[in-house]
């Protein structure tokens, strides 16, 4: 192994350790790691820029702009209150409906955005029913991570995988991942209702309070709502067709975002741009450059060949190894740097002789996204909800969350294990 490779491994491990320790903001750490790769001459600036996946960044930015403008219409609050009223204020039904709404919304929007939209309404509904909001919040966290797994745009790991493997387009993600996610969601909701059954009771008088809410008044701008929903629908159709149209997913997302800004006027521009999570964007940039150091020095190729030796190059064994390893790793560390490292490794496995890479990609997506449900620090949405709950005086502890969520995560990975085995190796 060359000195350059050893330097690259050193920088990568130190950066990773700082990201895990959360002593410094992960964006600063990732950017410093990436910059060190260039300063030490491990990659040139040109190579570093070449490794930054602008499709991932464009897709994230486009969707963030679309959601910021759409959220201003009040539609998400409308949907949540409408669901609570359809549930007739009954807690078990509300938990089921809000979980389904969260999962569906997360499939098309960023998970953090989804929970930021749904959690405040949940607090309010729980307050009206004089219930502890924690069962609802934990259900929404799990639903958001599971729902995000179903599509190319639902969760950053999927965005990164879709962006790196052109043949895995939006429809491929939907067709391959949504069936197993529907099964996982159904089982998870059943388990959650069982776990929290004693806490989900209220009086008929309090249920009646929910029925008095006027959801129509939550729509603050009906003209903007029509424009936003039309553009959102067009964008989703665009995602479904992007493979056939030979357009990258970022092109679709950015077209949707700027079409919406074009028809709504420039007064939304500044707010929409300012609400893009630039921290996240720079975090991705830092990671892409960081991992490029490992790719350019041959470290990734070496790791891939060792993984193949371990599984004997068998596609099934490699898929299942990736599934479980991704799930356990993603429960404890950020799944974004993990996936950023795994993508070049799986590509390398293809170069080393594994012919059918598709099950490996789906295993990575399932493991990395669903693994985030294992602990409170496993995914950004978990941390955000715990923070909001703490502000409200409801503490979601690391252990108390893990007691509920970790077994559910393992269950979801067992289901995924069976799914990958049956769908790609038996049928």
């Amino acid at each position: 192994m060359t000195n350059q490779a050893l330097f690259a491994i050193g920088i990568f491990l130190v950066t990773y350790a700082f990201i895990i320790s959360e002593k410094l903001h992960r964006t600063i750490v990732a950017m410093c790691g990436g910059i060190l790769m260039v300063l030490f001459g491990i990659v040139s600036q040109e190579q570093a820029i070449h490794h930054i996946d602008f499709n991932t960044l464009g897709l994230l930015i486009g969707m963030m702009i679309l959601v910021t403008v759409t959220a201003k219409t009040g539609v998400f609050k409308y949907v949540a209150i409408r669901a609570a009223k359809l549930a007739k204020g009954k807690p078990v039904r509300i938990l089921v409906y809000l979980s389904i709404i969260t999962a569906v919304a997360s499939a098309f929007l960023d998970n953090v955005t989804t929970v930021l939209l749904i959690v405040p309404v949940t607090f309010s509904i729980a307050r009206q029913l004089e219930l502890n909001p924690i069962p609802f919040l934990i259900s929404e966290i799990i639903a958001s991570n599971a729902g995000g797994t179903a599509t190319l745009i639902g969760d950053p790991p999927n965005i990164m995988i879709g962006s790196s493997v052109p043949e895995l387009d939006f429809m491929a993600f939907l067709v391959n991942l949504s069936p197993v996610i529907v099964i996982i969601m159904a089982l998870t909701i059943l388990c959650l209702v069982f776990i929290y059954r004693k806490q989900l009771h209220t009086s008929p008088e309090l249920s009646a309070r929910i029925m008095q809410l006027n959801e129509r008044d939550e729509i603050t701008d009906s003209v903007l709502l029509k424009k936003s929903l039309t553009v959102m629908a067009l964008t989703i159709v665009g995602f479904m067709l992007h493979g056939a149209l030979h357009l990258e997913s970022a092109t679709i997302a950015l077209t949707g975002a700027f079409l919406l800004l074009l028809i709504t006027g420039e007064h939304y521009l500044e707010e929409a741009i300012s609400k893009v999570e630039w921290n996240t964007i720079f975090f991705f940039i830092g990671l892409f450059v960081l991992v490029s150091g490992l790719v350019e020095t041959g470290v990734i190729a070496k790791l891939a060949s060792q993984a193949i030796q371990l599984t004997g190059g068998d596609s099934l064994k490699t898929s299942l190894l990736i599934l479980w390893m991704s799930a356990i790793a993603s429960a404890f560390v950020d799944n974004i740097p993990f996936v950023a490292t795994m993508i070049p490794m799986i590509k390398e496995m293809g170069a080393l002789g594994i012919t059918n890479l598709e099950p490996l990609w789906w295993s990575l997506a399932l493991g990395a996204c669903l693994g985030g449900n294992g602990t409170l620090i496993g995914a950004s949405a978990n941390v955000i909800v715990a923070g909001l709950a703490a502000k409200e005086g409801h503490h979601i502890g690391f252990v108390s969350f893990m007691k509920v969520a970790f077994p559910l995560m393992i269950m979801s990975i067992v289901v995924s294990h069976l799914y990958v085995y049956l769908r790609y190796f038996i049928w």
Partner: protein, 91 residues
């Protein structure tokens, strides 16, 4: 603690306190006051604190503002700023 008064011809406000928050049940009696209350709502809807003040409207036309305990003074100050209250003083 802040004490407030309001113009009863324009608005009526009732408080309901619980452990972590106070709920203000607000009835507006003119369109002008409705517009002012919307400004208060917009202010809190647009900030980055998602659980400070949560506004809801009810089928009977009244509004409900659920205000987190640490945001009670900020809520009253902004209600005064947008002229939903007529006076505000430290008690």
């Amino acid at each position: 603690m802040l004490q407030y008064t309001f113009d009863e011809k324009m608005i009526s406000i009732q408080e309901r306190a619980s452990q972590q928050d106070t709920t203000y049940v607000i009835e507006v009696k003119s369109e002008e006051m409705r517009a002012r209350l919307k400004q208060v709502r917009q202010f809190f809807d647009e900030n980055r604190d998602y659980t400070d003040v949560m506004f809801y409207s009810r089928e009977d036309g009244t509004y409900e503002a659920i205000v987190r305990e640490d945001m009670k003074n900020a809520f009253l100050i902004h209600a005064f700023r947008f002229q939903c209250l007529t006076s505000l003083r430290w008690a």
